[in-house]
């Protein structure tokens, strides 16, 4: 009988990584991140922010294999929406499948080629927002990402860019373990929509640093794919200037382990940040665990933050929500809203929520709520009494439950594509 080695995972993942090539500013940023990482070490199950999600799979030297399911789906999701596509195949940039790295109002470069060049705006940001986001809560995998990311895209929007940029992830290798790091700078008054689509790899670690200057707008719409055994670990760090807008929506289907962290800091007044996620999982074929961890810091006046997180769980699927709103002294007129809800379709599934508010200003409106419930029997009967079969009625109610998150997407065509994707998932997971 094979005996598993005693776990010393923290050492093993770090030992297995080698520093990617690339000197200059990138090398310096990596060195700094590595020393941050060494300072905090990898997470242990007793760490406050890892109590509900076991870090072992992310700490392990090699990923557990994950069968790919859906390259074609990811590629076709937004057919009908004109977009600039950048394709990563198991973390490796596929130049042939990608569009040219140019677009009106855009500067785009690849991280893998950026080390020796003087891309000053990226040099100022790479690892900087991540470093800021390490306090008060350490995020070791984000530091690991900054230190070891092999590639990613650096995008600067200098105007209102109408054509979305899509990063398409194709997962074809059951043992891939990519680490990607993207840096986005939206200049004053500029705007950009970024789509991230598909499963990045069998196990992945992606980080995104987003700096939105005053009156800029950034829209992020992500579909994390539906591979059952995928282990997905993401961080999004945002720094928001005055009167800027940041909106991030994530759709996550299945996944043995998904941990999405959002760290948003308001540094200018009158800005808006909306973060939303719809996660749906069926634990019948494989375990499903989805964790949303959010930290929003209000350090400016009259900013609005809104968190809408909903999960639909069945057959032993597990959902986690850890969301915090920190309102610093002086951040008056803050409007902070947070809702996290789970719809449990059976008794085996569970939802663990830790909403937190920490407020040091006295003229603010902050609210949060968290609910866990089953399908409403009265609604179900009403639908069935009109002739809608039970399964279809349940699907309608599931979609209705998730609708509030999809409303966070500004673009109706994109929202409709994701609604369709949800319906298809429901059809596939009937019964």
């Amino acid at each position: 009988m094979a005996v598993a080695k005693p776990a010393s995972p923290a050492a093993s993942r770090l030992d297995g990584l080698t520093r990617p090539p690339g000197g200059g500013w990138l090398g310096a940023a990596r060195d700094a991140a590595l020393s941050r990482l060494q300072g905090m070490g990898l997470p242990a199950p007793r760490d406050e922010y890892w109590r509900f999600t076991r870090p072992a799979d992310l700490n392990a030297a090699a990923p557990a294999p994950a069968a790919p399911v859906e390259s074609a789906e990811a590629e076709a999701l937004y057919d009908g929406t004109d977009r600039l596509r950048l394709v990563f195949r198991d973390g490796a940039f596929d130049a042939e499948a990608s569009d040219a790295l140019t677009g009106e109002g855009l500067e785009i470069a690849r991280l893998a080629e950026a080390g020796g060049t003087d891309i000053h705006w990226a040099a100022d940001l790479y690892g900087a927002l991540e470093a800021d986001g390490q306090s008060p809560v350490p995020r070791p995998f984000a530091a690991l990402n900054t230190a070891h990311a092999t590639d990613g895209v650096l995008i600067r929007a200098t105007a209102a860019v109408s054509r979305p940029v899509e990063i398409v992830y194709l997962h074809e290798d059951a043992a891939s373990d990519p680490i990607l790091h993207h840096v986005i700078r939206v200049e004053e008054g500029a705007s950009l929509t970024l789509l991230e689509t598909g499963t990045v790899g069998a196990r992945c670690n992606t980080a995104m640093e987003v700096d939105v200057a005053s009156h800029g707008a950034f829209h992020h719409i992500r579909d994390q794919g539906r591979a059952h055994a995928r282990r997905t670990n993401t961080h999004a760090f945002a720094r928001l200037g005055g009167a800027s807008v940041f909106k991030s929506f994530t759709l996550s289907l299945n996944g043995a382990l998904t941990r999405n962290e959002h760290v948003v800091a308001f540094t200018g007044n009158d800005a808006t940040a909306h973060v939303a996620c719809a996660a749906i999982g069926d634990g019948r074929q494989a375990p499903m665990h989805h964790d949303d961890t959010v930290f929003i810091t209000h350090d400016a006046v009259n900013c609005e933050s809104r968190q809408v997180f909903k999960k639909v769980l069945k057959n032993g699927a597990v959902g986690v929500f850890q969301g915090k709103i920190l309102v610093k002294r002086g951040a008056q007129k803050t409007d902070g809203y947070q809702i996290s809800q789970a719809l449990l379709l059976d008794d085996d599934s569970q939802f663990l929520a830790k909403p937190e508010l920490e407020i040091y200003a006295d003229d603010v409106a902050c609210s949060h709520g968290s609910t866990t419930g089953a399908i409403d029997e009265d609604m179900l009967f009403y639908l069935r009494a009109r002739g809608v079969p039970e399964r279809r009625a349940t699907d309608l109610l599931v979609l209705a439950f998730l609708a509030e998150t999809l409303e966070e997407i500004g673009d109706e065509a994109i929202a409709e594509s994701l609604r369709q994707r949800l319906s298809t998932w429901l059809d596939r997971h009937a019964g």
Binding site: Y382, A385, G387, V388, E390, L399
Partner: protein
């Protein structure tokens, strides 16, 4: 059309008998009214016929067009022609009223092996019928019953009835919470649907709805049984003298 024989029903979770042997036959083309004091079992009868959970049939039978319905799922009963206009229509946030009605219409058609209605055809029909009930485009767009007034909810029930074209329509206290104008509108909607091959069972506390929806037969229900049946005059008698005399007489 509807044939109920000695129907006995108790609450599933409690040892409480609600219906103690109901006998009722409703013929095609007729309007039957059931009146009775609070707690007599009128609403329970409507729920049991529609197939709601929480009740246990302990005896008797109920059939619709000759088909035993008590073992059927609610959706199968609906497809067979049963429609219950709810006393308290349920709000369903996130499900558009139009989506809901179109899903229901096509689910029933599919269950009966009929061709589904196209979006264009559905839209045309629903607009025309909504107009008759003074239901505006905004109400059709909103989530099912969310933010509707009491009268709007009841009109929405009648609109669903008009779209689904059931064989047997059960109206459970459709008059409750309606002002006179709204009641007239609802009654007009119901009367427009009266036809030789459709039957109605109107459950109400008061006679006033029956001024607008003229019944062929009136039944008085009390303590889980139908204790008296008669013509439209019976409703007038209740209105004038209350239930007291009738119940005494039948005891």
């Amino acid at each position: 059309m509807l044939e109920i024989k000695n129907l006995q029903v108790k609450l599933e979770e409690e040892d409480k008998q609600i219906l103690k042997g109901v006998d009722l036959t409703v013929e095609a083309g007729k309007v039957h009214a059931i009146m009775g004091p609070n707690g007599s079992g009128k609403s329970t009868l409507s729920y049991v016929l529609a197939g709601r959970d929480g009740y246990e049939v302990t005896g008797g039978s109920a059939s619709l067009l000759g088909e035993d319905i008590l073992d059927m799922d609610p959706e199968a009963r609906a497809a067979a022609g049963m429609f219950l206009a709810f006393q308290y229509p349920v709000e369903i946030p996130g499900v558009g009223n139009m989506t809901f009605m179109r899903t229901a219409v096509n689910a029933q058609r599919k269950a009966r092996g009929e061709e589904e209605m196209s979006s264009a055809e559905f839209l045309k029909v629903v607009r025309a019928r909504a107009k008759d009930l003074q239901i505006d485009a905004e109400m059709l767009k909103r989530p099912v019953n969310v933010g509707f007034s009491g009268g709007e909810k009841k009109r929405n029930e009648i609109l669903q009835m008009a779209m689904l074209e059931p064989k047997l329509c059960i109206l459970d206290e459709t008059d409750s919470g309606l002002d006179v104008d709204a009641m007239k509108l609802v009654a007009q909607g119901v009367n427009a649907l009266r036809s030789p091959d459709r039957a109605f069972l109107v459950i109400t506390h008061y006679q006033r709805l029956l001024d607008h929806i003229a019944p062929d037969v009136v039944h008085i229900m009390s303590a889980g049984r139908i204790v008296k049946s008669g013509g439209p005059d019976l409703a007038l008698e209740v209105e004038k003298n209350g239930y007291g005399d009738i119940l005494k007489e039948s005891a």
